[in-house]
Symmetry: C2
Subunit: 312 residues, 2 copies
């Protein structure tokens, strides 16, 4: 007996971005209304390998599947020409308990992170948003672009990477709307996505224009961030889940620890916005931020869809 | 791409009990000397399914593999004719991070639990032990018998089940040395294994003879036990790992909570005994107990062996 293994090609062939964005509604709703069961992840250090293993199970009450994403991060891998991250998701039958399939993890992570941004952008960005800027040139940056293009008619997408060379190479994956750019382009952006491993702010309030929507998805440790303190202070901030943001969302934790921000200052969770329990954008001049650290329930929803799409 | 899946038949064909017993030396040594990395397991409740999911990762410093055992327990399954427990173990390359194989979980659990008993019995039971009694007629009871036969020349193995019918059926899996019996047989036993789901003591000090060795492997919740308080008080008790026993070993936690026993009263961990840091049996009349709740490092060692044996 072999379990089916759905690899990156299968994931991409199974789910288009608009479907993934739509599926995120249920994921974030479940997270906010308490029907999602997402324990704190296990972090198993493998110090002698300069690596760590993460285990992230999830279930939504009433659902047909439970899943666990299993990730190994090997920090020395890139210098050996090996991938930094290896991940798989095991899909199980929640009603009977038996394992059903493995799904490649990184492609699901990229798809669901993009889809979360797509949903948040659809809910929060100005309708007439035309220009976007993306920070980052990795797998996450790719799906950020795919996602925001699904929900707004963009005429320009500027990419800023750590080197111009990387940005040019990355832009060649797309059509001519996507072009490398510079920090000075920030002032014209209607939508900004940050998908980097930066530990310090990429920009702050004075660098951007009024009315922009920002998706900050790169930082997910208490001591790293992509956004400056005054930007956080002057924006409407939406998150994926309060309990996990309080542990991992450096973009918010750092200003809070500095006494310059407070958890009471955030608007709330994306699921509360979907559920109309909190307000979204109420003027053309507000800055809105979706600060996402990512959640295993998003993996659950996407991996389950990959499995279902491949049953005939 | 498919990962290889080694099922129950593969597990049994790959590793014989004597090899498994030998492998447990490294597992228990690693547990006691600190080279095993075994975080607390995740327990994800799926209350609407009357089920739970358990995630149990493990790694030994310097090892070639890291593993995680993923178990679903569906309490309504047996009445539907489905297995109570479904489990798989994912074997990963600890040096590079990539997933390598899946191994069926229940067969590994049964093999490693038996092997732990085999090792403890070899270290603690009297050399001339001839008669054994087994409580239980399930998969765990089966490997308890296989294991103790590997380390002592037994002339009689008595099985006690919840019904005589179950015991007879179970004994038919073995040769004529294994026979159903009664509680009165306890007084003649040199080795006793308890592998039941009993919540209350199966027997106590007055029911057994001097010099017996007991393997108690059935209870692994703080409020369930197989052994009576006075038996615990009057025996030399060895455990798998102090930190996990303090959470899950009802055989010890219940007497301790009653004020009748103390963690200082135990002899120590099996790994400390292997490492000669603590003494084992020092007289023919002592009662020795191996109280095991099971540990993910045992799964790591056995699942890794299954993977290695199947590489050619």
């Amino acid at each position: 007996m072999n379990l089916p293994f759905y690899d990156e090609v299968d994931v991409k062939a199974s789910i288009l971005m608009p479907e993934a964005i739509h599926a995120m509604r249920n994921a974030f709703l479940a997270l906010s209304n308490g029907s999602a069961i997402v324990p704190n992840r296990i972090n198993l250090p493998m110090e002698d390998q300069n690596a760590l293993h993460l285990s992230m199970p999830a279930y939504i009450n009433g659902g047909a599947y439970n899943t666990i994403k299993l990730v190994n991060v090997h920090f020395d891998n890139p210098q050996k020409g090996l991938p930094l991250i290896n991940g798989v998701i095991l899909v199980m039958n929640a009603k009977k308990g038996n394992p059903l399939a493995l799904v490649e993890g990184k492609s699901v992570t990229a798809l669901r992170t993009g889809a979360g941004t797509g949903l948040a952008t659809d809910l929060l960005a100005r309708r007439n948003s035309k220009r976007a800027i993306i920070f980052g040139t990795g797998a996450q940056a790719k799906t950020q672009i795919d996602a925001i293009r699904c929900v707004r008619n963009l005429t320009s997408i500027i990419v800023i990477g750590r080197s111009e060379e990387k940005a040019i190479k990355f832009c060649n994956l797309f059509d001519s709307i996507v072009q490398p750019g510079e920090m000075s382009d920030l002032k014209r952006a209607d939508i900004i996505c940050t998908a980097t491993t930066s530990k310090t702010p990429l920009f702050d309030f004075e660098d951007i224009k009024a009315g922009v929507h920002i998706n900050a998805i790169g930082a997910h440790q208490a001591d790293t961030r992509e956004l400056g303190t005054s930007l956080i202070q002057k924006s409407k901030v939406y998150i994926d889940q309060l309990s996990s943001s309080q542990i991992e969302a450096g973009d918010l934790i750092i200003p809070i620890n500095e006494g310059k921000y407070n958890w009471n200052n955030i608007e709330g969770e994306l699921g509360e916005l979907i559920d109309k329990k909190i307000a979204g954008r109420t003027s053309e001049n507000e800055i809105t931020i979706f600060n996402s650290i990512g959640n295993a329930v998003q993996d659950l929803v996407i991996a389950s869809m990959v499995f279902e799409k491949n049953q005939t």
